[in-house]
């Protein structure tokens, strides 16, 4: 107890004094395994933690649970923890889902730090507010790795796909298809994701950046689909009922539902940019000749595996980029191939992009979602 207080005293005084405290040191690049852990940009800094010997205790602190993506992510994490390549490096792997409750998520992270876990990977429920757990993680040399919904800070190592680039690519594709059809202005539908987190914000920023730069008179109708097929279908149907016809659509998620709403309303098939749901890819493959020219870019649930791998690499003492960029898995209507990047004989509701061969993450979407609950454990 006294030790703890002395530690706390040291920590408090160093923070207040603005001096350096325990945690990663900033080092010069390049980092370990750059094909897998690609730095976000050339000027990204590199972090190095004191090397520890494994096997390590790792925890996954998930927030919201209850959509297919999160379930696929959790299953991927559990399957990857059993992968022969890293199984021996993990002593214990624990998963909790706290719901969209910031104090509960912060509490869970702090609890795992108290329990002596070596690394914690997490999908943050809010891009802000983690100052306290970052301090505590640094003090205890715990590697905290936010991925997917990342934090607005450069004090921790993070793993993500470039959401701004994803938004830009979506908008560029739709504009390109519209230009090919001779349209340089018109009405677009933007289906947004879960309000209030960084992924939704950045994707939308990317979309609007490209639209604004194009100089065309684009009228954008925004609806909130929460990255969910049912919600997206409903709000798309409402938007069509209110606004009539759209020239193009950009949907952050729930894209199968968006297309379903188009078909139900008898809306003509238009260029569409969306996520990587199997159902969306199936529909694009079937209807691209009718005008449903689609691009599908996925936020892969397999990001969790890369975050886990990065955490282990950091624990082994390798220099790591502070922000790790995982390449966008892109497929447009010309590139879709049944059995390769979509599966016409499998259900709609799983995410087609899951594996990252350069990182040795080979857990495929159909494989993981086809397994029953009993088999994954």
């Amino acid at each position: 107890m006294k030790n703890y207080l002395v530690g706390a005293a040291f920590l408090a005084s160093t923070i207040l004094g603005g001096a350096a405290f325990a945690g990663p040191t900033i080092v010069a690049g390049p980092g370990a395994d750059p094909t897998c852990f690609a730095p976000w940009s050339p000027d990204i800094k590199y972090m190095q933690w004191p090397a520890k010997t494994g096997p390590f205790k790792i925890a996954l602190v998930n927030g919201f649970v209850g959509n297919t993506w999160r379930i696929q992510m959790v299953k991927t994490a559990k399957a990857y923890a059993e992968d022969p390549a890293i199984k021996d490096k993990i002593a214990e792997f624990k998963v909790v889902s706290t719901g969209t409750d910031a104090p509960a998520q912060l509490g869970a992270i702090e609890d795992f730090i108290n329990q002596g876990y070596d690394a914690i990977v997490t999908i943050a429920v809010s891009p802000d507010g983690f100052d306290r757990v970052i301090k505590l993680a640094d003090k205890n040399d715990v590697v905290l790795v936010p991925f997917d919904n990342v934090l607005d800070t450069d004090a921790v190592m993070q793993v993500n796909e470039d959401q701004l680039a994803m938004g830009r690519t979506w908008a560029e594709f739709v504009l390109k298809e519209l230009a090919a059809a001779g349209k340089t202005s018109g009405k677009l539908l933007e289906v947004r994701g879960l309000a209030g987190n960084s992924v939704d914000r950045d994707r939308s920023l990317g979309i609007h950046e490209v639209l604004d730069a194009s100089g065309g008179a684009w009228e954008v109708v925004q609806v909130v689909g929460n990255w969910d097929d049912g919600t997206a279908q409903k709000v798309t149907a409402d938007a069509i009922a209110v606004n009539g016809q759209f020239d193009g659509i950009m949907a952050q998620g729930g894209t199968t539902g968006v297309v379903q709403a188009l078909m139900d309303a008898g809306h003509p098939m238009v260029p569409i940019a969306g996520e990587s749901e199997n159902g969306f890819r199936k529909l694009v493959a079937a209807h691209s000749a009718d005008g449903l020219k689609g691009i599908s870019i996925g936020q892969s649930p397999g990001l969790v595996a890369i975050a886990m791998k990065a955490a282990i690499s950091a624990l082994e003492g390798n220099p790591m980029p502070q922000l790790i960029s995982v390449p966008l898995p892109i497929a447009d209507y010309n590139q879709l191939q049944d059995g390769a990047n979509y599966w016409s004989d499998l259900p709609d509701n799983f995410f087609t992009v899951n594996e990252f061969p350069p990182c040795g993450v080979n857990v495929s979407g159909p494989a993981i979602m086809a397994q029953s609950e009993a088999n994954t454990n």
């Binding site: 409750d101 609890d111 108290n114 809010s126 306290r132």
Partner: protein
Amino acid sequence: MIGRWLAGNRGFAVAIALFAVLFVTYNLMHTRGFSTAVLVQNANESVAIGFVAMAQTVPVLMGGLDLSVGAVMTLSACIASVMVNGTMGEIVFGAFVTLLAGTSFGFMNGLLVVYGRIQAIIATLATGAIAIGLALLIRPEPGGDVDGDLGWALTNTVWDFADTYGLAQGGEAAWLQPFINIPVPLILQFGIACLVWLPIKRTVTGMTIYAIGSAEGAAFVSGLPINRAKILAYTLSGFFASCGGLYLAIQTSSGNADMVQAGAYTLNSIAAVVLGGTALLGGSGGVIASLVGALILRVISFYFRILDIDPLLQPLIEGLVLLAAVSFGAGRTFSIRNRLELFR
């Protein structure tokens, strides 16, 4: 004496016992159980839900319901994320404005229910949406700049608090030593609960809140100040909810107009009220009891971090444990003499 208290507060007593068992077992199983670090962590995680549960209790005591508590907490957190920084004077002023905003919001709920004659559920459902709308206006994107020292001081032990602000010789003063390991959030939470609720409960208006829940007609013909009590109940609800929001903003040094989180807190507040032994029909229970109910709710989820439970089964198990706990609290139905009592 104890026997009489038990007879009158059966639900509360069950809640305390249940919490004690769950919490001690959790600490026994935890690798660093019974340490200050674990207690501080547990306390921090429980403050916001504790305050929101307290906020929900007061309207429930008179047979009402406040569906805006989570939203008022969120609104207050967003206000605090803008206001609570700068000099010590500015911080205190910001905290005051935050609490005043939440309290006024509760007062407005009370006016709507009493003079607008709108049913509480519908009135607070609507005002909850208004609160979220205002929160989004204030903070369209998550963020904020709450004073970091304040955050560190209030989310740690008394020693850290004294050390941060150089009080009591930086926490080394002899008189402070018995208290240094107590988490500040616990003091804040139980302090506000006792200092605000216990005195109010003993006033005529306070007792009228219970009387309305027991039998509103009887309370009316007895000449009790019904309207005043109802307005007070919703005002207190707003006050407690804004305490939760203020703490949430300080804890996360930011604000986030998160609608889903607001909804989850409102629902959990009702669960905490029931777990604490307060009757949903009103008339019996109390604010401190709901605080214990909120702690039970939290401690159940603590177990998922030390046990190996499939993550996809966790919500199911949490629900089952909750149902069992509530059923256990309703055990009195087996011991009543007259079945008519059930219809009270």
